[in-house]
Amino acid sequence: MNNNDLNLDILENADDKTVDRLSESYRAVSDNDISRLYERSETLYKSRAGKSEDEYSETVSGTEIYRRPVWKKLFTAAAVFVLCAGVVTGGALLMKNRPVRDGRRTGRPDDFSAAELIGSTEEIPYEDILDKDMFKMSYENYTSPENPLQLSGGPYENAAVAKPFKSVLVDNDSVIADMNLWIFPVVNENSYIGFINCDMRFPLNGEPSFYGSEGYAPKLNEALQKGSIALFGTVDGTYGIYEDNTVIELDAGIPPYSGNITFEQVNKGYNLVTVDSAADIIYNKNGEVWANIISVPEKIFEAPTLPDELKGKHIREYEPICEYVFDLEKIENDAAHADNLIIGTVDSISYKTELFEHGGTPYTQIDVTVTDDIAGKVSVGDKVSIATGGGYISLREMRGDDLYNTGGKYGDGINMTEEEIDNEYYHEIVFSGEVPIIGKEYAFFVSEGKNGLYSSVGNEFGMLYKCGKVYIQRNSNGYSLFELDDIKAMMKNKLEADTLPHYDIPESTEQVTVNVESGKSLIVELD
């Protein structure tokens, strides 16, 4: 057998389960064949039932959506991808050629109208589209050495996708609607080489259609040399309008625009293509370019809210000098020291005290509803609490039994009335002193703590704000973005020996002599 041969005879005469799986997963008949076979089945039926054409034909009045197998989603869109050459025009043609079965069209191209181009207005964020297989396949058409799209000058190994824009549909003097269709420009060295269109107007089983080609990319490059343009479409095709209201035809072979629309009317921001638009890369051969597609929220932490019971109290702020055995800002360190990464929504923030023999120390308790975790130790929906450094503490709790001490380092003692002591609180600020925002989702590096309370690892640097599928760490350099897979990989890393705390102190047999009273001494062994 040739190395490229493959014998799949074993799949023959399979059990029902296998046949069902084959049917669900793979397409067995092309669209053309379906139509042909349907006609044949009808002929057979009529001959058997003895029906004439007249008594059988009836007018169809309304249909409904029916279930299609999985492969339909992929290949209906795929077929569209191949067929359509234009961008917005392509979408228009696509609609013209839509088959009768969805009940929206009669199938005659001459009854086509602009209103029918609008379709669904339900938009999918373009960031989510970058994840779809059809998008990735569409992108590969630009980089593939086989140059399947027959791009002039292609293929482009380093093709990238810039931030998408949309068009608007206009008539003679007004904008009718925005076109619910993302136009992802494919660029190479700041020049447009084609488009990937994600058409959300007429979803099939909830999925948008993808199509694209070189389209009007060369014309767009040429047009932008004169300045920025706002895109718009009519039933004839795609046009661009400059700030001085001159209109340029982008699609080849379309008539000049004869209406009176102005730049001010057309420009909606999302359809403005500037000279610099091609540089705004959001996807390249390495995948998504996060920095350009994630808009970091205005804040990912916030100043703590003073608890009600502390309102009216005298609050002193202090920043303790903390030393850590590793650099907390380095996420690799936090990941390596953590037992788990718990992802969850912050329900509440409260301030507690851990009491010791001589005084106490405050900590912040973050109550979280779990949405995921790496180690599989908690379940979705579980409520967990995570402790992190800093918080509010009363003077009484902070000083404990030492509160009323006098002499030595205590001098004359606290020198406050009981009322003053009761009103005295401290706000211990660790790093920024800010806390996670209630209602937002974070990923927390944690280690097992006492009494079911998890300890945060890395303080605020070990709390990553979840933004879609990106996790944001705030640090002294600004923000760092991570994907979950990267974090998981970091958690598997072994620590370098020199980053671990070093407690290897050799035993000593030395003795020291301590003078305790004048003329007397005490010998103490050091162990």
Binding site: V29, L37, V60, V82
Partner: protein, 187 residues
């Protein structure tokens, strides 16, 4: 599609109901028939059988009966029986034996449950591995090596040129063979 949905559609327009039924289940029926007749029937035989199945469904479906549930079971049964009949007619080499013949006592079932279970497990593993290739490779493998389509025919249903399909399916089959080898499966 459920029986009830089909009956309701039949009341509005039998022709439209037939068309929707055909479009929904054509792939299902074709898969069943192809699976049975792949080795012994021509493509024309398979297509004729598929059309026959639907013609039978249209003819014999009783719209008066209040049956509920998914209609796929009904269609699947007709498809399997029809394909089985054609298989017997075209491909079966089993001789007919009289019921009075002494040989009847010695005849064994054609079904070997143990080996069928093994084969099913192997099929499952092979399909898992093909799926693991991801798209479009999995589809290219199935279309080329199972359905026996040419690169030109495959290009009608995937957004790739025939040249691209040849190159990509070659790579995909080599990758699949490596995976099968690791799993100790030879085809």
């Amino acid at each position: 599609m459920t029986h009830e949905e089909f009956r309701n559609k039949m009341k509005i327009s039998p022709q439209q109901a037939h068309r929707e039924l055909f479009e929904t289940y054509c792939n299902y029926v074709y898969t069943i028939v192809f699976n049975r007749l792949r080795s012994c029937g021509s493509r024309e035989d398979i297509e004729e059988c598929v059309c026959d199945v639907f013609a039978d469904v249209y003819c014999f479906y009783d719209t008066e009966k209040e049956i509920s549930g998914d209609i796929s079971g009904f269609i699947g049964t007709i498809a399997r029986r029809k394909a089985g009949l054609i298989y017997k007619k075209k491909c079966s080499v089993v001789d007919t034996v009289s019921i009075d013949d002494d040989l009847v006592q010695e005849l064994r079932s054609e079904h070997d449950i143990e080996s069928e279970a093994d084969a099913n497990e192997r099929r499952r593993i092979i399909l898992d591995m093909i799926a693991e290739l991801g798209e479009p490779d999995a589809t290219l493998i199935m279309q080329k090596y199972y359905y026996g389509r040419s690169a030109k025919e495959i290009a009608e249903i995937v957004p790739m040129t025939p040249e691209n399909i040849r190159v990509r399916s070659g790579r995909a089959v080599r990758k699949l063979k490596e995976m099968l080898e690791k799993a100790g499966i030879s085809l």
